[in-house]
Symmetry: C2
Subunit: 354 residues, 2 copies
């Protein structure tokens, strides 16, 4: 089987880690066998934007639709306002390809230490299901009378029934598939009394279809406390676009580094390709130095491999990079002394010996 | 001098800790001398709401205006939807008394351990300046066609020039008054491209008035990572209503417990009384058991004592409860074995011997 992968390295360390991911994926198909990846690289980046005035060409989304999956590095550059880069690249892909789920697992890998003193391997095993298509990221809003004393600006948060039901259903399915069958509804409906109350209501409507899943409602602020003080008590969490954005960065830090956590932007209907990217950003401060942690990229690649149906390959890749971290072959952010290349080569070697 | 204090114990452990705070404040005025507190208790609670249909009477805000300060316990009960309780009690007070600043300091007290292994006393000393009057808590929004397939709901986030300038100015003044003179702008203007971009713009307009304050712009999600991995690198942070709500719960947990952190809802123009409350909630699960941690209540009381001009009293109170925690006289959430009464009596005794 050949899997056609669109690669968008993007900006900063996105380039370094996409290269590392491709190297490892090629090694994986070579060793495991039975499948191959056909990579097409799209140089849609801030650098190109500054040269030619666009990130994606007008038919960019149409081009991506022809692939089996998309691998994304990172976007963001000091030379372009962030809302321009994001709203011209990553956000339109998520939205127009109907990738309405952003699935973000977290756990402490072998050989990695949580900054939380009392949190050992196995104490932190979370799954965040992030609404990825609307909510606080609707893109709607505006500014009136910008320079006047009575200037004001807005952002509109939008929850549709369609958008909310489908993410809740996905979250319940996910919770059901995990041993604990426990789902936390993340909300802030105490202070946000319109849309967030609707969000909660839909959750409880859908909950009726999943009597075997235990539910709990919790405020987003209180969840941060629980993550820090009682990590073991949590399993699956469903949260809005913004809430999950914040919680998953925190989750990555608590599991050792922002450099390890993966994310899958999924269209569960499989009408469109899904997109896989580490949750970290473009990190302009360390870009091009060859020191970025590629583990988040490998984990995201493993999620992609599983999504396209190569279970065996995905398992092998997960095992390979975790074996490597467990032996202390790690970048600086994880307390190691290796660079991107060193970790990548170690993972390739590990794949060979699996 | 007599300071007239309106006390609103509210719900759950709000009642326990307000009682503890009053006891300690009375002891403080007795021992330090030169000032007295005249407390008036308002039983505006969810219990009363269920009996009589209202939290505050129609002239509630007018009644509060006659006081020098307000001391608030907590609000929230399993028997009332949270958006009803909050929007009928705490939020109207914050908004209608023009308490546009919510000031939330955090540090690790003597005798308290951070859950972060590498974080020692002195490594975590933060000051969050929270916009407290608008932003995501505008109260605007609605639901259309609630049960229909095309149902949708909204929340409107609002930033006015007036509201944004004043919080930025307060944040810069605060940063300037601290040794590091460093201010982080918390934002999410990469994904929220209208109101949040305006928020950033006003920050930089006001920054020109404070050339001595070093500034840094940072995304709210990235700030959580920094709090966990590099706590020492942060000092003052200015953030929106929702962002700061989340970050300050996290901050409290990282400094040991949600039970210790104080908050001051300030009208810096001093036209209206300001309101002081611990950041924790009503914790229905432990309400009435006499085991709530009163430290957040004492710290909030100390902030109030300082706000009404009794510097000496505030210093004494801060010292008293920190001496007590440093001796290990602590509630269970801090790893101790005392109850609310035990800690309160220890603090009263400590005040006597200062
Ligand atoms: C790059 C940005 C749009 C993004 C987000 O806010 O979704 C990032 O923080 C993430 O978590 O994927
Ligand atoms: C009680 C609630 C309205 C509140 C808030 O969200 O402001 C609380 O979480 C806080 O932090 O003061």
């Amino acid at each position: 089987r050949v899997h056609r992968i669109a690669c968008i390295p993007g900006d900063g360390i996105g380039v370094d880690i996409t290269e590392a991911a491709i190297q490892v994926l090629n090694k994986l198909s070579e060793v495991v066998g039975g499948f191959q990846f056909d990579f097409t690289i799209f140089d849609w980046s801030s650098k190109k934007y500054l040269e030619r005035g666009w990130y994606m060409p007008p038919d960019g989304i149409e081009q991506l639709k022809k692939f089996d999956a998309i691998y994304f590095g990172a976007v963001g550059s000091p030379d372009v306002p962030d809302h321009i880069s994001l709203w011209n690249l990553i956000l339109p892909i998520r939205k127009e390809l109907n990738q309405y789920v952003n699935r973000r697992p977290n756990r402490i890998l072998e050989g990695v230490k949580s900054p939380l003193e009392a949190c050992k391997i196995g104490d932190l095993d979370w799954m965040f299901i992030r609404e990825n298509s609307e909510g606080e990221y609707s893109g709607q809003g505006g500014v009136s009378n910008e320079s006047a004393p009575h200037a004001m600006a807005t952002e509109l948060t939008v929850y549709t029934r369609v958008g909310t039901e489908r993410i809740m259903r996905f979250a319940f399915e996910t919770a059901r598939s995990r041993p604990k069958k426990h789902l936390i509804l993340c909300t802030k409906s105490n202070a946000m009394r319109h849309g967030m109350v609707f969000w909660d209501k839909i959750f409880y409507e859908i909950a009726k279809e999943y009597p075997d899943v235990q539910t709990e409602k919790m405020l987003v602020d209180a969840i941060t406390v629980r993550m820090v003080l009682h990590p073991k008590s949590m399993d699956t969490v469903v949260a809005t676009n913004l809430h999950a954005d914040i919680l998953t960065d925190l989750a990555a830090a608590l599991s050792g580094s922002i450099g390890i956590a993966p994310s899958s932007n999924l269209d569960p209907t499989r009408t469109n390709p899904s997109m896989f990217e580490p949750i970290h950003g473009s990190a302009p401060d360390i870009a091009g130095k060859g020191i970025a942690n590629p583990v988040g990229a490998f984990w995201s690649a493993a999620e992609m491999v599983r999504w396209v149906g190569e279970e065996k390959g995905a398992d092998a890749l997960m095992k390979a990079f975790e074996n490597v971290t467990s032996r202390g072959v790690k970048t600086k952010d994880l307390g190691g002394s290796e660079n991107t290349k060193g970790v990548t080569e170690a993972v390739c070697k590990e794949i060979e010996t699996l």
